[in-house]
């Protein structure tokens, strides 16, 4: 079984900016993304926008090569860490059919 070593980048934050992050991820080289609705609490969640009834927090996952992972993390941290409740981390994964995810 042929597995490719890639990175799983996970970004969790205010729903209001997560779609932008997902789209930007594609521009930075990710071949796709997966979004899920979550509920969260963090150090700055008091600043979360709580739009009545709207879902507050979204998680976005990218399976990407190391260089793209770095670009996404850098983008997220530069653009959103100052004013938005966002957290991002990266983990090692092995992917089937991984070649498809290397060069967007």
């Amino acid at each position: 079984m042929q597995l490719y070593a890639l990175k799983l980048v996970t970004v969790v934050g205010e729903t209001v900016v997560m779609e932008d992050i997902a789209k930007e991820g594609l521009k930075l080289g990710a071949s796709g993304y997966t979004l899920s609705e979550v509920v969260g609490q963090g150090s700055r969640s008091a600043r979360n926008v709580i739009v009545t009834g709207a879902s507050r927090t979204t998680k976005c996952e990218f399976v990407v090569p190391t260089d793209v992972a770095e670009k996404i993390l850098t983008y997220v941290s530069h653009t959103y860490f100052e004013h938005y409740a966002v957290i991002a981390w990266v983990a090692d994964v092995h992917v089937m059919r991984g070649a498809a995810y290397v060069a967007g």
Binding site: E14, V16, V17, A46, R47, N48, V49, I50, V51, T52, G53, A54, S55, H78, T79, E82, H83, Y84
Partner: protein, 372 residues
């Protein structure tokens, strides 16, 4: 700018004997009682109580959103239907003045709000503009409650009020955001240079487009057109079931409003604990600004020829603050603005104030000013 509305008002107001006479006060109190002891505000109260005692009521998000959709469609559709009747009888003769007045109010209220917040309150540019965007726009639910109120007092508002709600939705947000973006651009550029990063490109254009094509406008304006067109072209028998469904005096509208207000109470209750954090200035702002804006609305509405119910409702919607369209737009364009301030003010102070006290007060204002 702030003095201008005063100028407009000069001379037309009956002499103020002692601001509010004893008789008027008792009338206001009666009005309040009649308003407060009805299911809609009581459901709001139940929601607040439930949150405060950590009770278990949970309105599914989807129910809340579905009711919001229904209410907006209903406001639009019935508005379009009555506009068609009005139009068939009077053409645009009765409508253009109130429409202009509403547009004017939509442009003035974000500016009065901004000035008060920035110079009386000493808030930052971003916070002032962010909150002003909320108070410049309007809350469709406040409209619905005000409308129910005047219908119950047997003074239904002019038929075209839903059109005015639609007109009032956007300009306030736009003006406040443009103001905020312009005034804080230099600050941002300086800070970006300091940390050696490129200036984040502004999302202003995007955010404004999203407000104008947002759910509230699309549904209200869209259904307004649909209600208008179907009234003109359908035979009344075929039209009836649609009318019954959307009918704003009907059981569905009133009942859904109860459930909606329950959820609003649950949310506002959670926000009550933030009242301390936002400080006394913002609490006062959240009560006094609506009174001032409400008076503008009532008074200019009267000048534009609205009836008693119409003046009351226009007062209420001008006084109300948006908590649906404004927050995401502000969050995207003025990220340094603290959303806790604006949402708490709009949702936990102004909204309950208007529901419980504001609407009967605007009603008395309208009477006092001579609307019939």
């Amino acid at each position: 700018m702030t003095t201008m509305p005063c100028l407009v008002l000069a001379g037309h107001i009956p002499a103020l004997p002692a601001v509010v006479s004893a008789e008027q006060l008792s009338r206001i109190l009666q009005s309040l009682e009649r308003n407060l002891l009805t299911p809609i505000p009581l459901c709001f109260l139940l929601g607040i109580i439930c949150t405060r005692i950590h009770g278990g009521i949970k309105i599914p998000k989807e129910l809340y959103l579905s009711i919001a959709i229904f209410l907006l469609m209903s406001i639009g559709f019935i508005g379009g239907h009555e506009l068609a009747h009005e139009y068939q009888m009077h053409g645009v003769a009765t409508i253009w003045k109130p429409a202009l007045v509403t547009l004017f109010l939509g442009c003035v209220t974000p500016i009065t709000s901004f000035l008060v917040l920035r110079y009386l309150g000493g808030l930052s540019v971003a916070d002032s503009a962010g909150i002003a965007a909320h108070y410049g726009s309007t809350s469709a639910v406040t409209y619905a409650v005000a409308n129910s109120f005047v219908e119950q007092t047997q003074h239904p508002a002019n038929s075209f009020l839903p059109t005015l709600v639609t007109i009032l939705e956007c300009p306030g947000i736009a003006i406040a955001l443009v103001l905020g973006a312009a005034l804080s651009a230099r600050e941002r550029a300086a800070r970006a240079a300091a940390v050696g990063q490129p200036v984040r490109e502004s999302k202003l254009g995007e955010a404004l487009y999203e407000v104008v094509t947002g759910q509230s406008i699309m549904l209200m304006a869209g259904l307004l057109v649909i209600g208008f067109v179907s009234t003109l072209f359908m035979d009344p028998k075929g039209f009836q079931p649609f009318f019954d469904f959307f009918q704003s005096k009907g059981m569905l509208f009133r009942g859904c409003l109860c459930i909606f207000l329950l959820e609003m109470g649950l949310v506002a209750g959670e926000r009550l604990s933030d009242l301390v954090r936002v400080g006394p200035f913002l609490v006062a702002f959240g009560i006094l600004m609506p009174l001032l804006h409400g008076f503008f609305g009532v008074y200019l509405g009267h000048l534009a020829g609205l009836n008693l119910g119409g003046c009351t409702v226009l007062g209420a919607i001008v006084a109300s603050a948006s908590y649906i369209a404004a927050p995401p737009a502000v969050r995207l364009t003025l990220p340094e603005a603290n959303p806790t301030l604006s949402i708490t003010a709009a949702l936990a102070i102004t909204f309950p104030f208007n529901i419980a006290f504001g609407i009967p007060i605007y009603f008395e204002m309208a009477k006092w000013i001579g609307a019939v």
